[in-house]
């Protein structure tokens, strides 16, 4: 005779039940009590000794904690962001529709879009915009092109000196811009400045650089570029460290030389890093140059070194035209927002998750 074997969840055969005895896990439907764990019968002082009210309030407390605690964690950051970023942002949008001279006692006059019309027609704004584009293009050499060249060259350097060189290049980025501005002013000074002296030795007469509308912007770019170089090199070498050396080894075994490995493997894998540096340069070229402009040239001579942030600052806090300044701020906010969106999208497309 065949008997069918039923799959059984019980691993060990259960002993027969005595009347009144319950197996752990059996529900007593009539009493409606939850199943008692076996160890609860251990004796007084065990979990069985807890009162019913304890059981009722503990889950409620836990639920409250689970709901509320996460928000407590993000509260400080949220509060700071709201106070220092989003509240001023909203106020800037409001302010751009008013005429106001920043004096708390003087009235704000609603002028609609007048500030925006003025902002886009003022010739100074046009010059500031052109200068900003020049800054972006020129600083990209220091924050993007040179770091890439240095990073690729540094691949050949091995050992502990590599870190030392990287640190050496990065140090300028840590210096206070106001302090470096002072030093650069001395370096470029027409009487006894090191750079004019050196150029004179080469037969080049530069004169008072910061009073020359053509040369002032060059001097600013050199000073800011020197600070940015370390930042760029650090980001590029971090990006390169994130690329598994197996790819280069595999490409070498596939027959590729250094040039081809760089062009076909290293650069494509580094492209998200380069896009990030590009975005940084576009967004931050104006803020990075700001402190030098304020310390040395005040945007001059004849607006030849000014940038969009500096002109915005001048309109707001030197001409006390809060409305015009706010309108410019709104325009730049939207413009840079669009640029950032394009770059973020590009980064997403270029990312190759290395797993």
């Amino acid at each position: 005779m065949f008997i069918t074997l039923e799959p059984s969840l019980d691993v060990a055969p259960a002993p027969p039940l005595a009347p009144g005895d319950r197996r752990p896990g059996d529900r007593d439907a009539a009493a409606g009590t939850p199943p008692t764990p076996v160890w609860a019968k251990a004796g007084p002082g065990g979990r069985a000794g807890r009162t019913a009210s304890d059981k009722a309030s503990a889950p409620a407390k836990r639920l409250w904690a689970r709901r509320v605690v996460p928000y407590l964690y993000v509260l400080p950051a949220t509060a700071l962001l709201l106070t220092w970023s989003y509240k001023p942002l909203v106020e800037t949008f409001q302010l751009s529709a008013y005429d106001w001279n920043l004096l708390p006692t003087s009235p704000k006059t609603f002028v609609g879009l007048e500030n925006f019309v003025e902002a886009v027609t003022l010739p100074e704004v046009g010059r500031a915009l052109t200068n900003t584009l020049v800054y972006i293009a020129a600083l990209a050499v220091f924050s993007l092109v040179l770091p890439l060249v240095i990073g690729l060259a540094a691949q050949q350097v091995r050992g502990r000196w590599k870190t030392f060189y990287q640190a050496l290049i990065f140090v300028p980025f840590l210096l206070t811009p106001v302090a470096t501005s002072a030093v650069w002013r001395w370096l470029w000074a027409d009487e006894g400045g090191l750079i004019p002296l050196a150029l004179r030795a080469l037969g080049l007469e530069v004169g008072a650089v910061f009073r020359d509308p053509q040369l002032a912007i060059v001097a600013i770019i050199v000073a800011v570029g020197w600070q940015l170089l370390g930042f760029g090199v650090l980001v590029v070498s971090a990006g390169m460290a994130g690329i598994s050396p197996d790819y280069a080894a595999a490409a070498a075994l596939d027959g590729a030389g250094w040039g081809r490995i760089t062009a076909r493997v290293t650069l494509p894998l580094l492209s998200p890093t380069l896009v990030f540096l590009g975005l940084m340069t576009v967004l931050l070229a104006a803020p990075w140059t700001f402190s030098l402009l304020d310390m040395i040239t005040k945007g001059g001579p004849v607006d030849s070194t000014t940038n969009i942030y500096y002109i915005l600052y001048q309109f707001g806090f030197q001409s006390f035209d809060a409305g015009l300044s706010a309108a410019l701020g709104v325009i730049f906010f939207i413009g840079f927002g669009l640029v950032a969106l394009v770059f973020v999208e590009a980064t997403e497309r270029l990312s190759f998750y290395d797993d």
Binding site: D246, Y247, G255, V265, L269
Partner: protein, 382 residues
């Protein structure tokens, strides 16, 4: 052709020697497995053959030509990496075409070879995908395909199956063996998995601490391990190794253990401290009147049912012992049992050096019996 010769190859890192003066000849068409625990230098050796790690001493020859100073790109050797190293920004097609594009082959020829290799590895449906859209097994095939497509002198593989699950690993193992047979090319394969080594290799090279412990066909490595290290590393469960002494007494060479004395061969020898070994499948329980050449006692701790057989674990005097036997319905052993083995299954190693000792019967006309010569010479590969 693809004969790889390695002479005195050494690689020293700051304060360790990863590969220590290795001499090895890999004949054309062999599938040589470099086997050893992690840190034994097998990957370092492979990377030096590939040319992506410079040796600090010694030479590498390919078909008699010294390639030690040749950069990796001019060696005509392909490698499959443990990480596969598929270019993440290129499609499968472009990954496969990469080595051919470097060689400036005409487009039509590149296309023909990529599609041929893709078809042979059954990845032709995946050609437009990026590596991150592939499963582990598919990536592994693409990595093999990229090595295959250029028809190199030799293939190097660095633990190519370690990222696959158990089922896929067994299947891929067989596919790689087929591939090797079809191509007839030289394969050098690195693994720490002795099952992979036993099943795939035509020659196994067991490495330990940067040196070759033994080189030979799998059957030789398994049947006559050249050292205690090889005996303990190859085989699962591992060979039982126990301390004993070899003595000559009354014209017989005897093995003297903690609780037994067994005459082995007629002859004479000086007393010698040894380690004797026996594989779990060669040890049998003696529950009847029949005896064995060497017998000792065992206290059984546990019996594992493996389905097709059972493994008995226990303690003998001086060592833990494992025994495998068919599940023939016999009573499960418990407590103190007597176990034994035949003389032909006995492995004897010199305790001091760890090297294998082979008994050479005394010549009948010889007046003075000679002690067994320790077998230090390694069988060269090929």
């Amino acid at each position: 052709m693809g004969t790889i010769e390695v002479k005195g190859l050494t690689r020293a890192f700051k304060d360790t020697i990863a590969v220590d003066q290795i001499d090895l000849t890999i004949d054309h068409g062999e599938l040589v497995v470099l086997l050893g625990p992690s840190g034994c230098g097998k990957t370092t050796l492979l990377r030096m053959i590939a040319g992506i790690l410079e040796p600090t001493g010694g030479a590498i020859c390919l078909d008699g030509r010294d390639i030690t100073a040749l950069p990796a790109k001019r060696r005509d050797i392909a490698m499959v990496f443990q990480s596969y190293a598929l270019y993440p920004h290129l499609s499968v097609y472009k990954n496969l075409a990469f080595p051919l594009g470097v060689r400036r082959l005409p487009k039509a020829e590149v296309d023909r070879r990529v599609r041929e290799v893709a078809a042979s590895l059954e990845i032709d449906a995946l050609l437009d995908r990026k590596p991150k859209q592939l499963s582990g097994g598919q990536r592994q095939r693409v990595a093999v395909g990229r090595a295959l497509v250029r028809d190199p002198q030799a293939f190097l593989m660095d633990e190519p199956l370690s990222n696959l699950d158990a089922t896929l690993r067994t299947q891929t193992r067989q596919e790689l063996v087929h591939l090797h047979q079809r191509l007839g090319a030289t394969f050098v394969y690195v693994t720490h998995d002795q099952v992979e080594a036993m099943t795939m290799a035509t020659q196994i090279v067991v490495l330990n601490q940067g040196r070759i412990e033994q080189a030979g066909p799998p059957s030789q490595v398994y049947d006559s391990p050249a050292s205690v290290f090889v005996a303990g590393f190859v085989g699962s469960p591992a060979m039982n190794l126990m301390p004993a002494r070899v003595v000559g007494r009354d014209g017989f060479v005897e093995l003297v253990g903690e609780d037994f004395t067994a005459p082995l061969w007629p002859g004479q020898t000086d007393p010698l401290e040894v380690t004797f070994g026996v594989r779990p499948e060669h040890l049998r329980l003696l529950d009847g009147p029949a005896g064995a050449d060497v017998e000792f006692h065992l206290v059984v701790d546990a019996v594992e049912n493996l389905g097709h057989e059972e493994a008995v674990y226990g303690r003998a005097e001086g060592a833990r012992v494992c025994l495998r036997r068919p599940r023939d319905g016999a009573a499960t052993p418990r407590g103190l049992s007597r176990v034994g083995l035949d003389r032909r299954h006995l492995h004897i190693f010199d305790r001091a050096s760890g090297r294998r000792l082979e008994w050479v019967p005394d010549a009948p006309n010889q007046a003075e019996p000679t002690p067994p010569p320790p077998q230090h010479a390694l069988a060269g590969v090929g």
